[in-house]
Each structure stands twice: as structure tokens, then as C-alpha cells.
Amino acid sequence: MSITIPADVPIIPWLSGSPEQVVAFADDLLSVSATLDDLDTTADANATYDGWEGAAADSYGTYVRAAAENAQTSSLALRAVVQASDTYATELQRLLDERERLVDARTTFNADCDSLRASVDAAAPEDDLTELEAVASELATRRTTIVDDIATMETDTTANEDDLRSVLTANASVAAVLAAPGGGIDPADTAMGLPGAPGSGGSAEDVAAWWAALTPEQRYAVLAAHPEVIGSADGLPAEVRDEANRALLTADLEALELLEEQGMLPSDLRKTLENAQAAHEALELLEEQGMLPSDLRKTLENAQAAHEALGNVVVDPVSDPPVEVPPLLHLYDPNAFDGEGAVAIAYGNPDTADNVATIVPGTTVKGTSIASDVRNAENLYTSARVSDPSATTATILWIGYDSPEFTDLSVASESMAIAGGERLADYVDGLNAARAEGDPAHMSVVGHSYGSTTVGRAATDHGLDVDDIIAIGSPGLGDEAQSADDLGGPEVWVGNASRDPVARLGDNGWVGLGADGLGRDPAEQGYGATRFEAEDVNRADESESADWGFTGNMNGTSLDDHSRYFNDGTESLHNMGRIVAGDDGDVGTAEGTHDPWYSGPVDPEFDRDPQAQPSIVVEPDR
């Protein structure tokens, strides 16, 4: 009796390609597509001017329209290849995974064949070989399956390449695009006209529903045609916003740095023109009239700051082995607020994380601040993860409102907090709307300094939809928040360090700034908030005499203590991490300030010795 042992499975064909690199390629194309689409729109808007009329102006208009005529067609062609490349990358990843599986299957199969061969060779003529025959039969079946799967993998690889190639061919030139059925029609126009589109006045939930209903082609279309709208649309998935904002950031950075190299930024241009005799008097006139063009340098600086912040490497403190936490560019508008800029960066994905915290900074913060202040989001992320390693976390530094200068703080009006509060409430609505149905996050906001006033106004004026409000270094949560109950239901936590002069600006009883200030001291007993320990072992000496220009007793304080709340090893970072993670029972609570009739406000925290907390932030090679 002979046993037929199947032949070994031959080497699995090599499969080349890297899905990650294809996605990076698609991102590059998307950015170029957005630039071209932008040209089409803006050329039309710049073909005529109120201030320039006549024969030359008419010729200019004709030329401009002709020069930009094919921009949108070009944009559509690149966009089609972006979508095709992403589809190709997804299929390539599946095929690479399949090949890996087949390599394992082949290795096991060939080893099993070797084993069977050895068993057959060792068998004596009188042995019963029935069992070995069954093994051989099973191996033959396995071989057929593996060989068939290899053939399918090869067929699928060819089909994947053919699909991409056909899209490349169809979009090989402007003429090819225009010749195709429906060529030159932009699906973005249809998509932006659908109910719930960003900018149509709908809620964040409407925007989320709009996005969910778009076809893949429409999604690519609006990403390329309207990245500035998609990148800041509350209610859209964080990864979509990130893709749109990164495309904008890349285009801004490269173009403005080129202009800078050429000395063509307006501030440089002014110097150039000042040297031109014929233009000299005209320049003086324009300057008097305030008509010199806006300075793109601010835009460039905001773009550079966002780019630098995205390069900040964050290492998850509890993952083993350590993994980096990729940042998401959740908001990018370098021209917002007269060039001060708006930007938000998230660590962790706010659409899926169990715990989500948004940090709202205070005075003097602008777009360029993201480069350094993003560390606050990093440290809070780390603290929350250490507090509850089993829960996923996302923390966001949100520079999304126009904040006052610090020098104005002691007499600050609430107007900027009122405007910022509305923006913040919309932003948080967007975070909630972007979540999957039935999967709400434990949502917190952290307001620092004037940012706490903004948070307060978001809560009192717009029903800020969060579980926890954390106010640190707070001069008050606004006049409408006379007690924690006025904030509409979230748990209210206050971490006002005793040596922080800004934290003393809130009203205590009759003592305080009254109508000139930003509301009651939320750390006061009876306010209704839970005060937590927020001291730092490095705090100001109690004997320090200070005059920061603020009203009231500021002895024993230092402005440095207004900036320590997110520092590694501080009580405040330790406790904020617990609140963000929902570990309320582990938060170190503190006694509130009180205002006896015989003296000014008394803060029991002033005399308590602060406790050093463990250092938790993992420092990569920066």
C-alpha cells in the first residue's frame, strides 16, 4: 500500500507596496486638489474689482478667468485619484494580511508534509497505514485550498491595480476628465446643498447626520473643495477634521514660507515698495487710509505653531510596550479673530474615547500659543490615563475663542467670555454629536483663568453639555453663576491655588471687584462646587509681598502660581486626572475659602503643606 504525500506548496508570490505610504500620497494629492479648487473659486471673485474699471480692467478679467478655467477640472481629477488611492490602500492592506496568513499556512502545511513523510519512511511494511492515509488526504485538501487562495490573492492584486489604473487613465488630463460622462461636474456642490451641511444653520447633530448620509465620493469632494469648512465643522468625525485641517496647514505652511523666502510677505513687500520712488506717495496715502493689505506673517506664524505642536511626541504612560499617541488637528483657522488664530489639538480620539476633556485656556492665548500650551493637554491626558488605565482618554487643547490680554484681567469685561462661551458650547455639542449613537463619553471641560469664565458663560447661557466642569485659577465663572446650581447640572470642581493672585479676584461676600469683576469666588464655601487640592510644593513663599496691580490682598502670591496647574507632580494635575477619568472618590478635596465678619477672606489652603505627587509624564526624546 502506498501513500501519496502532496507536494509542498511553492513560495507565495511577493506582494509589494505599503498602504501607509499610499495614504500619505493620497493626503498630498488631496492638499493639491484643495489648492486648485480654491483657485477656481477665488479667481472668479477676483476677476472684477469695484476699485478698478476700464479697458485694462476688462482685459484683466478675461485673462484671469481663462487662467483659472481648468482649475476645478484639475481638482476633480486629482480628487478622483485620491479616492481611488485610498481604496487601493485598503485593498492592499487586506491582500498583505492575506499573504501573511498564506505564508503561515504554507509553512505549517509543508512542515506537516515533512512530518508525514518521516512517519511513512519510519513505518514498517506490516504496519496499518490507515491513519497516515487520512492525514495525507487531509493534507491534499488543505493544499488545494491554499493554492486556490494564492490564485485568488494574485487575481485580486491584479484587479486592485487595474481598478486604480483605470481611474488614472480616466483622469490623465483635463481633456480626459471633460470627455467622461458627467465630466467637470463637482459632487461637492450637490453635497453642500443638502440639508444639514455645515454653514447651513443646522445643529451639530444635523451636521453629523449630513456627513453620515454622504456617499464616499461626496465625502472626498467636500474634503477637497471645502477643507476650511470641514475642518471646523462641529459634529464631524475627528479624523475627518484632522485630514481637512492638515491639508490646509500643509498648503499654508509651504506657500507662506515660499513667500517669506521671496521677501513677498506684505510686511516685506511694504519695505520693497517704500524704496520705489513712484509708489512712495501712494504708500503714504494708503497707510493714512489704513488700506495696506493684511499681514500674512501672522497666518504663517500660526501655521508654524500648529505644525510645531503636531510634532510634540506624547507617549502613553500605561501602555506596554510604550506607544505614541498621535495628535489630531481638530481645529485650524489661522485667520480667525483678526489673525490671532483658532486651533485645537487632541490627544486620543474624542469620537471614541471613554473620557474626553476639553481645556479652555485664559488670557493672552492665541494661535501661536498652541506650540507650548499643547503640553497641558499632554499632561492631562497622562494623568487621566494613570488614574484609570482601563479607560481610553482624549484631551483637547481648544484655542477657539478670542481672549483678552492679561493686563486687562482685573477689570475684564465678560464680553469675550460670553462670545467664547457660545463657541465652546457649540464645540462641545459637536464632540457629543460625533459620537456613535448610544456611546456617550464621560465629558469634562477644564477652564483656566479667564477660560473658566468662558466655561461658566457656556454653561449659564447655552447649557454646556458636559458631566464635569473644572475651574482652575478662576477669577469667577461670570455674573450669571452666583452658585454652582446656576451652571445647569454638571458636577462643578474648583482648583484655586492659595498662592495664585488671579484666584483671589472672585468676590467673597462684600469683598471683591463687584460689577468690575468676573463673578463670585467659586472656591468659596457655600458656592456649591467641590474644591480640590491644587497646591504645588514649589508655590510662592507665604512671606512674599506682592503687588500685581490687582485689587485686594495679594501678599504671599506669585503669578507663577497661576501657571502651575498642569505641571507634572502637582496636586492639581493629579486631581484633574482623577476627575477626567471619573474617579471622583479618589480626588483630594480641600476646604473652601470663607469670609469672616472680622477680616477679609480666609483660605485654609494657604496654611496647608502641599504634597508632592509622583512624576507621571513620559519624556520621549524630544
Binding site: G17, P19, E20, Q21, V22, V23, A24, F25, D28, L29, S31, V32, T35, L36, L39, T42, A43, N46, Y49, D50, G51, W52, E53, G54, A55, A56, Y60, Y63, A67, A68, N70, A71, S74, Y88, A89, L92, T157, T158, N160, E161, L164, R165, L168, S173, T250, A251, E254, A255, L259, Q262, P266, L273, A276, A278, A279, A282, L285, L286, Q289, L292
Partner: protein
């Protein structure tokens, strides 16, 4: 030749706008040219490379056209200013001689 209106600030802003557009298109063209096609499989990477080369050239051509717009607007601006200034100087010289 009909009537015409010229606001110097408008021309200045226009030239600035087109220079910015030129910078955006120039860098976009470069981004296309530099886009790595090595992530694609060997069966299709050549097609992708040809595609980006073609479109990089197209975008570069558009960038040049836009640069020309900026230059022509600048030239128009200078010409308007020059004519105005020359006329001013001529009249001032005439006034000086007359006085």
C-alpha cells in the same frame, strides 16, 4: 478709450493676492512632483508616477499663468502711478516756471 477708475490699493491687494496664489500653486506643483509613489505595488507604480508628473506640469503651468497675472497687475499699478506722478511733476514744474 473709455473712462476708467483706478484705486491703487485695489491693485496692490490684487497683486498680493495673485502672488499668494502663485506661491500656493508653485508649492502644490512641487508637492505633486515630490509625492512618493513607492507605496504602490510594482504593477502600477509606473502609472502613478506618470500621472503625478503630468499633473505636476499642469499645475506648474497654471502657477506660471497666475504669476503673470501678478506681474501684469504690478506693471499696470506702476504705470498708473508713473503716469500720475509724471503729470504731477510736469504741472509742478509749470507752476514753478510761472511763479
Amino acid at each position: 478709450m473709455g473712462d476708467y477708475t483706478v484705486d491703487y490699493a485695489t491693485l496692490m491687494e490684487s497683486a498680493r493676492f495673485w502672488r499668494e496664489e502663485n506661491a500656493r500653486l508653485t508649492t502644490a506643483s512641487g508637492r505633486l512632483a515630490d509625492a512618493s509613489t513607492s507605496g504602490f505595488g510594482s504593477g502600477v507604480s509606473g502609472d502613478v508616477a506618470a500621472f503625478v508628473t503630468t499633473w505636476s506640469t499642469t499645475v506648474s503651468t497654471t502657477a506660471s499663468a497666475v504669476e503673470e497675472i501678478a506681474q501684469n497687475v504690478d506693471d499696470a499699478h506702476a504705470a498708473y502711478l508713473g503716469a500720475d506722478f509724471e503729470a504731477q511733476l510736469a504741472f509742478e514744474a509749470w507752476l514753478e516756471e510761472a511763479s
